[in-house]
Symmetry: C2
Subunit: 264 residues, 2 copies
């Protein structure tokens, strides 16, 4: 299909965005509230003069950040993909940062095509609060035994029923998920928990983090994790870590999609 | 002087605070605007039921952050200094972080006793914006020659008339200041400019940073700095770096004060 010079072709766009979740009521559109999806849709709709629906790889809770959330939407016309980051940078508020935009086939779906998601949880262990980190980390002052946390984390890897590690009111019926990796990485006063899986239930990464912190503090045994999983009850796990330390780190898709290499 | 158990003695307090400057109209109290000094005074006044005046080591401009701003105030009574950080943590908004509080002699003055101040300017050089840094750094995408910036910086060290490196409307009459050190430190995608001196004029660190960036980009010669100083004219220097990359890093006082070692 040829395109006139200066005329853009529209089509399906895969957009990667970062956001600072502090001033959003989460990702998912909610009437009357400031949400990431809502602001993206409003910005694109104002830009193009027609209603644009934005589909995310999944929700993030209120206060949770994203380094690389992936969304898709269909444009009837508009700036070519390679200009879209520039155009959106000038129109989005400073707490949503467009990172990259690419044309993709129309069978790409930001949510249904996901093969793996990674969250990062940032624990800050400094004696004094840090003005550059308070917004993005959980400040834990008591000493944490990181080796015990890593040992507990290893029990979570694999396919399990995560009923004990999600909100009691989580909407999903099937609580079985596969975790590929959980790693706790120390870096000076920081500790980062990276958690990769096929998908996550509501509050799941925050309850995993809170429980691992309880392990690190000596309040829960590292080898209690299998029993906690088996209990299939939220009360058997530890606390829920606060939202503002959590960040959607990465969303992965098949490299080959519909018989073609994804144009990323 | 003995103190009843449970009764606190009040007196002069030296308080160190961090703040995230994004949502403040600078440090200095301004009627009807949210300022750091205003919020500190309001919080202390509400806590104690009497008007408390807070004195800072100096102003910071709108949008500028502080890792360690120093203030003093006099308490007629109130929590002992070693409880004050805890008490204030629960009452201050999350973007002002109390770090430490100590009793000091009544001749200590947060502003007049300063012997050295250090600012840090954060330049972020990543290809993509970084959601954890956008709030606290200036994103410069073009390659910077850091060695040239350091060479230019060395010309600023010493006592000079900094008329060329301050706001044309700067209120201070005497434009002579002494700079002790200017260092440009690379760390991965970040570059930090540390600038220590006896004191600074309005916008001085931001104009120094902007001019050094112009040097790093090749737009101003590193060895043009002496001529720029000699011109005593704001237009001879480079641009003004944005406020949000700047942070008041440290404020230093004499260790021995009034014949006594400062009770810090």
């Amino acid at each position: 299909m040829s395109t006139e010079p200066g005329q853009s072709r529209g089509g399906r766009i895969r957009l990667v965005v970062s956001y600072d979740g502090a001033n959003f009521h989460g990702f998912a559109r909610q009437y009357g509230l400031r949400t990431v999806q809502g602001v993206l849709e409003e910005t694109l709709t104002n830009l193009l003069g027609v209603q644009i629906d934005v589909h995310g790889s999944g929700r993030t809770d209120r206060g949770v950040h994203a380094r690389a959330q992936v969304v898709h939407f269909d444009l009837p016309y508009g700036p070519p993909a390679n200009r879209l980051v520039h155009v959106l940078s000038g129109r989005l508020p400073s707490d949503i940062i467009p990172i990259s935009a690419h044309n993709v086939d129309s069978d790409f779906h930001a949510r249904f095509s996901v093969v793996r998601k990674t969250y990062r949880y940032h624990i800050f262990r400094g004696v004094h609060p840090d003005v550059f980190k308070y917004r993005f980390s959980w400040h834990v002052r008591e000493p944490l035994n990181i080796a015990l946390m890593q040992r507990a984390a290893s029990h979570l890897v694999g396919e399990h029923d995560f009923t004990s590690f999600c909100a009691a009111a989580a909407p999903q019926e099937d609580k079985v998920r596969r975790i590929y990796e959980v790693n706790v990485v120390e870096s000076g006063e920081d500790a980062f928990l990276y958690c990769s899986g096929s998908g996550f239930l509501q509050y799941m990464v925050r309850i995993i983090t809170g429980t691992l912190v309880d392990v690190g503090l000596g309040d829960i045994s590292a080898d209690a994790i299998p029993d906690i999983l088996a209990a299939k009850s939220r009360v058997s796990a530890g606390r829920t870590a606060p939202a503002h330390g959590l960040c959607l780190w990465n969303v992965e898709y098949p490299i080959v999609y519909g018989g073609r290499v994804l144009d990323l």
